[in-house]
């Protein structure tokens, strides 16, 4: 392919194909049939996927050098140049394949899922636009374009969460999602500003080249307090990642984002966009390696999210919310992996998670179609009888998620836990227990969900039961195609990605200070050995314990969960309220800023400035005017021009 076309043409085609599809269906959608709308957008994304494979083949399998070129100058100011450009290395190549593959699956799936929706074409336009934005994000060669893509995916997420714009809960959720993300972006843009100030460039390569010189640089933010520059930069940038990748306390938008149609929950809120933060930190590894403080901060945030958000998954009854909290928890795992400098493991988990979590969401969507848009798992049960393909693929996804030995999730999650174990940072100690107990929690809520949906008594009403059937092939095909990598991708890629030189220069690790990954690689003797070894380790038995408990509670003794709930009611309430995050935000930030605005408006503007200063003077003038008014006719229009001409004539007359 690259013989007849230049690299740039191929990369541009990857980016532009979905954009063109999106624009065409977005603007001319009203003149198109549904079939035409999905044909155009799917062709675009399919082309991107094929070309992504070509790029992967070229850069990875044929080991061609990285590509780093600017395409056009966004703007120049003083001696600074901000460009739009592409950096294609192993990290980008992998992201391209993952994003385009999941996106293609979701596009196909949408034909079935949205078949009867009025917004069919609009939806296709949005998800293609999302794909374009995500490509721009991962292909960027500089911080500014990263921010472009970063905000653009946020925009599409906003549009898609609010897709059912008549629903009050949906339009509440999309506003919330955008604003919480903006809190993250607030930190992010300050981080970018700091990078620009000290490195005088926003180009990745240039910044990473200079970074080591700034290892000991200090910055004075509070008068008299010297802080490490790299720590400040890394934490500011990470705040952006916390917004996008939904890390506590900026995680609050993700559960609500489930208001959007299920295909986008899979694509945006599980597989791709929410992993942008993980991608970003991995991309910035040369910076993060310079600050143990920032890494420790990341570990704490990730561990907190992994553990506490997992707990919330246990009590959810909405099928999508269980998966959403599971996503939060898994993002926490990735974040912890970043914190212990095992960027490649984080990205590895990002990839395996993208496949099995997209699978789980799409399977949940298939269940929702079958159930006629009932999402409460208490009204499901024994669906395996009616939806065999959904059942089998869900089983695969669930086993991958809980880390069943041999499936993709096992390799990535086990590696994370081991990496945390070997980390020398003090923060990793507590994180180790968090990610360990997370294994039990994950297994528990996943199996609970699986049992309640697919096994046990049929709890749905007669009407729904009567109509229950397997979803059409456009829905099941993506499930099957996603199930394959959910099984095999870990086994296939763990060796090159974690212990080979897959990432080459894309990821930098200071393995003296942060030895986790190098210790891991010494004890790694192939995938099979890892499986057999895995059977003897604590995570495996915790997983078994989780599965068994869920099985016991929801199959053997189904009356027990209710009793336990009654026994620990306060804890249950705490979990049900999401630890109070939402209430606090509503009370403090939402209502608080409205109150503040009202106060400033009525006291500052209306009372002080207008009431005292302006109207006081106005009254004086009005009194004065009332005297003069007697000699006026009130034709403002005539008067005004007389004034103008009078002024000019007078000036000329007097001055000459």
């Amino acid at each position: 392919m690259f013989e007849t076309y230049t690299n740039l043409q191929v990369y541009l085609a990857i980016v532009l194909a979905p954009l063109i599809g999106s624009v065409l269906t977005g603007i001319f959608g009203t003149y198109m049939s549904k079939r035409m709308a999905h044909t155009i957008t799917i062709s675009g994304v399919a082309l991107s996927f094929l070309l992504s494979l070509v790029v992967f083949n070229y850069h990875i399998l044929h080991e061609m050098p990285d590509y780093n070129q600017n395409i056009y100058t966004w703007l120049k100011t003083e001696n600074l140049t901000f460009s739009i450009g592409f950096l294609i290395d192993s990290l980008t190549a992998m992201m391209l394949v993952v994003v385009s593959f999941v996106s293609l699956m979701v596009h196909i799936y949408t034909i079935g899922y949205m078949a009867d929706d009025n917004g069919y074409k609009r939806f296709f336009s949005y998800i293609s636009l999302f794909t374009f934005s995500m490509f721009m994000l991962v292909m960027s060669n500089n911080f500014m374009q990263l921010f472009f893509g970063w905000e653009a995916v946020g925009l599409v997420s906003y549009l898609l969460i609010g897709f059912y714009y008549k629903k009050e809960s949906a339009i509440f959720a999309n506003l919330k999602a955008f604003l919480v993300n903006r809190v993250g972006d607030f930190g992010f843009i300050l981080g970018i500003a700091a990078v620009l100030m000290y490195f005088n460039s926003l180009d990745y390569v240039e910044v990473f080249k200079q970074a080591p010189q700034f290892k000991d640089a200090m910055i004075e933010i509070m008068p008299g307090e010297q802080w490490s520059l790299m720590t400040v930069i890394c934490i500011l940038l990470f705040i952006g990642a916390m917004g996008k990748s939904a890390q506590a306390p900026l995680h609050v938008w993700l559960p609500d984002s489930m208001e959007g149609p299920t295909p986008i929950s899979a694509l945006i809120h599980a597989a791709t966009m929410v992993t942008a933060g993980i991608f970003m930190v991995s991309r910035m590894s040369p910076l993060y390696e310079l600050s143990d403080t920032a890494l420790s901060f990341i570990i704490y945030v990730g561990a907190f999210t992994a553990f506490f958000m997992g707990l919330l998954g246990i009590i959810q009854n909405d099928i999508k919310r269980v998966v959403a909290y599971s996503t939060l928890s898994q993002l926490g795992y990735m974040t912890v992996a970043l914190g212990v400098s095992s960027y490649s493991i984080a990205v590895f988990h990002l990839m395996t998670h993208a496949f099995f979590k997209a699978l789980l969401f799409l399977a949940a969507g298939s269940v929702i179609i079958g159930m006629h848009h009932v999402q409460d798992i208490r009204q499901m049960g024994n669906l395996k009888k009616y939806m065999p393909i959904t059942y089998i693929t869900s089983l695969i996804g669930t086993l991958a998620l809980i880390g069943f030995p041999g499936l993709s999730g096992f390799f990535s999650k086990d590696s994370i836990i081991e990496a945390v174990h070997y980390s020398t940072l003090p923060a990793a100690e507590i994180a180790y227990y968090a990610v360990l107990s997370g294994v039990f929690i994950t297994a528990f809520y996943s199996i609970r969900l699986f049992i309640l949906v697919f096994h046990g008594k049929e709890r749905m009403d007669e009407h729904t039961k009567h109509h229950l059937k397997e979803s059409p092939w456009v829905v099941t095909l993506p499930l099957i195609l996603l199930a394959i990598p959910s099984i095999a991708i870990g086994w296939m890629t763990i060796e090159p990605m974690l212990y080979g030189d897959y990432f080459k220069s894309a990821i930098t690790i200071n393995s003296v200070a942060h030895p986790s990954l190098s210790i891991l690689s010494e004890s790694f003797h192939g995938g099979l050995a890892m499986i057999t070894h895995g059977l003897q380790t604590l995570p495996f038995w915790l997983m078994v314990a989780g599965v068994t408990s869920a099985w016991f509670l929801y199959v053997i003794q189904p009356e027990l969960p209710g009793k336990i709930k009654a026994m620990f009611l306060p804890i249950y309430k705490l979990l049900e309220n999401n630890y109070g995050f939402d209430q606090f935000n509503q009370w403090f930030f939402a209502a608080g800023s409205r109150k503040l605005g009202g106060f400033l408006s009525s006291i500052g503007d209306a009372l002080l400035i207008d009431g005292l200063v302006v109207n006081g003077s106005a009254k004086t003038v009005a009194w004065f005017a009332s005297v003069i008014r007697k000699v006026q006719t009130g034709y403002l229009y005539h008067y005004a021009f007389t004034m103008l001409f009078g002024l000019i004539v007078l000036l000329i007359y007097v001055l000459n």
Binding site: T73, E151, K166, F172, F186, A193, G604, A618, L651
Partner: protein, 510 residues
Amino acid sequence: MFADLPLLSLVIWTPIIGGLLVLVTGSKNAVEAKVLSLLISIVTFFFSLFLYTDFDTTTAKMQFTEFLPWISNFHINYSLGIDGLSMPLILLTTFITILVIIAGWKVITFKAEQYMAAFLILEGLMVGVFAALDAMLFYVFWEAMLIPMFIIIGIWGGPNRVYATIKFFLYTFLGSVLMLISFLYMYWHASQINGVGTFSILDLHQLPLGIMPQILIFISFLLAFAVKVPMWPVHTWLPDAHVEAPTGGSVILAAIMLKLGGYGFVRFSLPITPDASQALDWLVIAMSLIAIVYIGFVALAQTDMKKLVAYSSISHMGFVTLGFFLIWQIQSNTGATAGAGMGLEGAMVQMISHGFISGAMFLSIGVLYDRVHSREISAYGGVINKMPAFTAFAVFFAMANAGLPGTSGFVGEFMVIMAAFKANFWYAFTAAITLIVGAAYSLWMVKRVFYGEVRNDNVASLQDLDGREFFIMTLLAIAVLVLGVWPDPLLEVMHASVDNLMAHIQYSKL
């Protein structure tokens, strides 16, 4: 073929004379008057395009200069010329005026020819302000410009227009009188030093001034320009004026008239009183930061759409004044001035971008007002169900207002935040709060007005955009998008002039 024509005079006087012509001939046939007005505005825009195509980006010298003695005893001249700071603003003016005339096409039925004429005359006068190189000429345009604006608000305005105009007048009058006195002082001062007085702005840039006179002049300029921008705390006339003004008036007010204040800072305050600017930069920075945050929260509390967008304008203009005055703080923080140019250019871009976005926002409100006759947010809800195309535009412009990358709203804010960080972490921190608050008030309004179920019968009977409205929205959307995706051509025009300005700023007059 046009290179030898006095282009600036053409751009100034075509709409003024044309406007008078419309006024004289138009009373018989309103349609004729509208067509004629549209033609005049298009011809004017056409002339102004040559200012761009024939512009020499390599020099900071004034271009397209014209010079005629006017009142020679006092060395007052009809002296015109533009550089990279004023040229984009002139193009903005001629572009927006066309849209305003199209926007008033159907809505204005009462004395339509006077309405159109007022906007044309206003256009010429505003271009005059941007093009004047003589302080007195500047002053005449500056004051004359208020008259058509008064008329526009006074005749086609809302019920409370008298209060609004008095407030508007009071504020503006205070500042401009002091500005006039400053000009007269400098004329006298120049004649003391050089033996001959001058009102030439470029000469005033070179005029040596002691620190005390500089400070007094700076303060009088500050009053004049801060009212126009408007800066906190002299901003309260703007929401009232907007609320009372007809849609076209609001558009011109927000898109162009506010920029006159910003332009005043770069043409007068900074180069004429550099030392006073340095001494008082903290004041302007503080006022700007307060505007950005305080006004952002005030915007959040508004229930009237026009007031909300008016406050949002004030908050956005805070970036303009912040960007202008960063140079000394950057110098004291980093030891060099690198980054100050980015702040200045970012502020200029912010002005142009805000012209498009605020214009679009007010036009959008006008679209709703024309149909429902209410500006209250609570009078709407679920507009998207009836006006999907319009909603698409409105969401886009709201996003641009919230500074989404890829729209013009991002460029200026981004540059100013980057520059502010170099001056002081906390400046950038405070300015960046707009990322959150700006999104909050813009999108919360979108949620309440556009999303949800159809709220009431008024909304239920709404018709989507007609061809005319669609055309205006499309033009603005393209402008916002192009400037956001590729701002470099605009920046390129400014570089030489900004460099020159930087040199002036750093050159002490003491």
